[in-house]
């Protein structure tokens, strides 16, 4: 039975429909794994066992009645920033202590409408700020993958570290994360998974706790490209409750999985070979390019000249928006309130926010407040917006020549939890992933190989806005060619 938990969604669907096992059995198997592994990994901050079993029983009924929906009976972990009705949602922040929404986010509602099952809420960097999952009020997450011959605890990446670890450690079939600057693709790369960020506007942001509104987008982790497409089928929708949601017809993102790469043009940008980059990643990148070529794709050299400005631009825009988005956590309405008899309103604000936010969140609020203040606004925020448009121009130009762009997902592989990185080094983690967020493009990271220590390396595929079907086509073809075997990684 333990094998069940390693299957892809596509395989699980087949098994469930063929009544080889039930959703309740599957759910129990995951719950068993969680009980064993979660104390060490800390991937889940809340396990909704009763709810999961209840949902699984219903799924089994539907299957028995021949009324199975697209994700009927498939158990998911959900990042703690999705508001889930009557289930605690704290964004792994002290300031949202005990916050229990009375509403369900559109994206999670879409999943449940399709029959998926909620196993629990996944750990994350507080308010999705970070690339290590070390910034969680609920403690860091340990990457289930470890280096060959070493017991060093590695980070799972972030900010969706818990969601990544839960899939990698077989604690769920797939999971929801969110991606503001790479928060799905980077941890997918660090854990040997497929991680996908849709086009900005493809999924509703309603009910997702905001970090940076113009960059935030739902995303998800899975064990295969096909699973990734299946999940996007379910979670994407136009939502009139989100003004930035795109009015697109529903489409089947699996439609072109088997179309192959023949006749496709794939762009390679010299800017994505960075100085100081892990040479193993460069090697795997070159190999992947060759594989694409061998599959019949035409490889085209392109230029994305503003890549270097990605991280600074991202950190100005995201922190500016965050400083305003997080102003609502003030102790007045919900969550933490630190206030003594006789305190003024300002005292309450100051005490609540000092106690409620962790150091990284505070740093970004300060940074964002600074770049928006009068006298600095033009030099930082306005300039960053201009550079952001240059990014869009870079990509527009590139996509007039190619169908997709192939890049490494990250300049490094999973590093040790206790390794000291400076803030700037940490921020440069996102250098290959932030351009997609700045330009609103879809992006996917697929596992493409391992470094010298047998830790996974991810490759990223970018396509034009709303061209996810093409993106999955490229990713699937490469996945079939690469034949990455995640069972050969070293696990804790």
């Amino acid at each position: 039975m333990s094998d069940l938990t390693k299957l892809t969604i596509a395989e699980l669907k087949e098994g469930l429909l063929a009544k080889k096992f039930t959703s309740v059995e599957l759910t129990k198997a995951y719950l068993e794994n969680i009980k064993k592994a979660n104390p060490e990994l800390n991937a889940y901050v809340l396990v909704t066992e009763d709810k999961a079993l209840e949902m699984a029983a219903l799924a089994d009924k539907n299957i028995a009645a021949g009324k199975a929906r697209p994700l009927e009976g498939i158990p998911f972990a959900v990042k703690d920033l999705y508001c889930t009705k009557d289930i605690k949602t704290e964004c792994c922040s002290h300031i949202l202590d005990g916050f229990t929404p009375t509403y369900e986010s559109t994206v999670t509602q879409n999943l449940w409408n399709d029959g998926a099952i909620l196993l629990g809420k996944a750990n994350m960097d507080e308010f999705a700020m970070g690339s290590t999952n070390k910034n969680s009020y609920r403690g860091n997450v340990v990457n289930p993958v470890k280096r060959a011959g070493e017991d060093t605890k590695l980070v799972p990446g972030g900010s969706s570290g818990g969601s990544a670890a839960a899939v990698a450690a077989d604690l769920c079939a797939a999971s929801l994360g969110s991606d503001t600057g790479g928060s799905v693709r980077q941890p997918a790369s660090f854990t040997g998974l497929v991680g996908m960020k849709p086009t900005y506007g493809r999924c509703s942001r309603w009910g997702m706790i905001a970090y940076a509104s113009s960059l935030d987008q739902a995303g998800h982790f899975s064990r295969s490209v096909e699973d990734s497409a299946l999940i996007l089928n379910s979670i994407s929708s136009y939502d009139e409750k989100d003004s930035t949601s795109a009015q697109k017809e529903k489409e089947d993102f699996t439609a072109k999985l088997n179309n192959g790469l023949k006749g496709m043009k794939i762009g390679i940008a010299s800017e994505y070979k960075m100085e100081g980059m892990n040479p193993d990643i460069e090697k795997i990148f070159d190999e992947t390019v060759k594989k694409a070529e061998s599959l019949g794709a035409e490889i085209v050299d392109i230029s994305l000249p503003h890549t270097h400005y990605g991280a600074p631009t991202y950190y100005i825009i995201s922190t500016a928006e965050a400083s305003s988005n997080l102003a609502r956590y003030d102790g007045v309405k919900y969550g933490l309130r630190e206030c003594a008899q006789g305190d003024s309103l300002d005292d309450m604000y100051s005490k609540t926010r000092s106690a409620g936010f962790g150091p990284e969140v505070k740093r970004r609020i300060m940074l964002g407040t600074y770049v928006l203040s009068s006298g600095y606004y033009d030099a930082y925020y306005i300039k960053a917006q201009k550079v952001r448009r240059l990014f869009a121009d870079d990509f527009n130009k590139a996509f007039s020549q190619v169908d997709a762009i192939l890049t490494p997902t990250t300049p490094n592989t999973a590093f040790g939890i206790d390794e000291k990185l400076t803030t700037i080094e940490m921020y440069y983690n996102d250098v290959f992933t932030v351009p997609a967020n700045l330009a609103g493009l879809p992006g996917i990271s697929i596992p493409a190989g391992v470094d010298s220590k047998n830790t996974p390396i991810g490759m990223q595929i970018l396509t034009p806005r709303f061209a996810e079907t093409e993106m999955f086509r490229v990713a699937y073809a490469l996945e079939q060619e690469i034949k990455f075997d995640r069972t050969k990684l070293n696990y804790r």
Binding site: R205, W206, K241, S243, A320, A327, Y334, Q341, T369
Partner: protein
Amino acid sequence: MATIKTAQNEYEIVIGLEIHAQINTKSKLFSHSNTVFGAEPNSQVSLVDSAMPGMLPILNREAIKKAAITGYAINATVNPYSIFDRKNYFYADLPQGYQISQFSDPIVTGGKVTIKDDEGNDKVINITRIHVEQDAGKSIHDQSPTHSFVDLNRSGVPLMELVTEPEIRSAGEAADFVKKYRNILRYINTCGGDMEKGQLRCDANVSLRPVGREEFGTRCEIKNLNSTKNIQLAIDYEVERQAKALDAGEEIRQQTRLFDVTTGETRVMRDKEDAHDYRYFPDPDLLPLELSEAFLQEAKDSLPELPQQKKARYLDEGLTEYDAEVIIADKDAATYFERLLGNCDTKLAVTWMTGELFGRLKKEDKTIADSPISAEKLLGLIKQIETNVISGKIAKDVLDKMLETGKEAEEIIESEGLKQITDDGAIIKIIDEVMVANDDKVQEYRSGKDKLFGFFVGQVMKATGGKANPGAVNKLLKEKLSA
């Protein structure tokens, strides 16, 4: 009074106004909550209004349409492209920690409103802009010695803020501006205009400069003036205060001030140094507001007749400037008048509405909107005068009774037997009786004491209880007395 003279100096008064008007939509600017005034605290609050995590604003197009109509009503440019910005500051009744407003690119720019200056001449005030924004909630500090409360019913209510150029030159002009603008809003039905309910709130920027100097003096902003009377009182006080300070050689500090209704003074709320840095930036939850040509045309087409257009029409109808002004100055009065106009003699309509009815309503402290006599009822009375059923004098009594009882004029005339005596025979009979009873006076009149004519008229009218047709009485009396 465009200037203030002190013992040493004469200063020109410079005023600019910022007027917040509540756009009268059913639901809030970014949510579906109701906007009804006076509801139970926190009973009209959605997840969006209370800034629950993950909630997003959705624009109410009706509010935007009304803002566009307002723009057209003041001859402004309605911009097909505008942007919603966040104005960031912390306060307990501001749940998001920012107000969604428009800063760099407002929906309306330019425009003009015609007011009267202190001499009664028309004066055009140029408008800088109108932008749309959401209201904050209300903090309540007087319910408990240790706690404050917050009512979010107002949170998210749509407002449009009009900003004038600094072209207003006296407290009187400022008050008239508010009246004129309020009237326009009521005509086009984009704002209820009730200042007591907070539907219209005014901030006044006041500064002085020595007469003849071009550059402006340092201004002070007086916040939240909630009646035209207070606008006038607050500005008058502020002008005096600044003049005194300038005379004494003091520098005016740029301040935000509050008007204290009980003392009639303005006092400092905050100094420039303590001013907020609002860190405006485009709200990333809302796309830029793009209005199609069709949308704008529809707004333009839905514009009803405006006060100044009405006035021009009334002047064509033969009304005096004064009467026309009185009627258009209040939308309800104009609506009332429209129901009379064309259905009876225009002059009678004006006299009986603005003279007789208004006078009586004023005595009872009522407005035309709560007049117990509808336009149709007044028209009934005027008809009785027009057809000589009653005299104007009797009509005044009938109007009093109408006010008292709410009955139709015709009914009162009938039941009280007030019908005018127009029958010559009946009048002659009474004249004869009066002449017999006052034989000495008849002799005096006939010997040249013409002034006595009025006495005879009075006696005849008295004997008929005022019901005799005055024209007939005059004519017949003349004949009889000179016979």
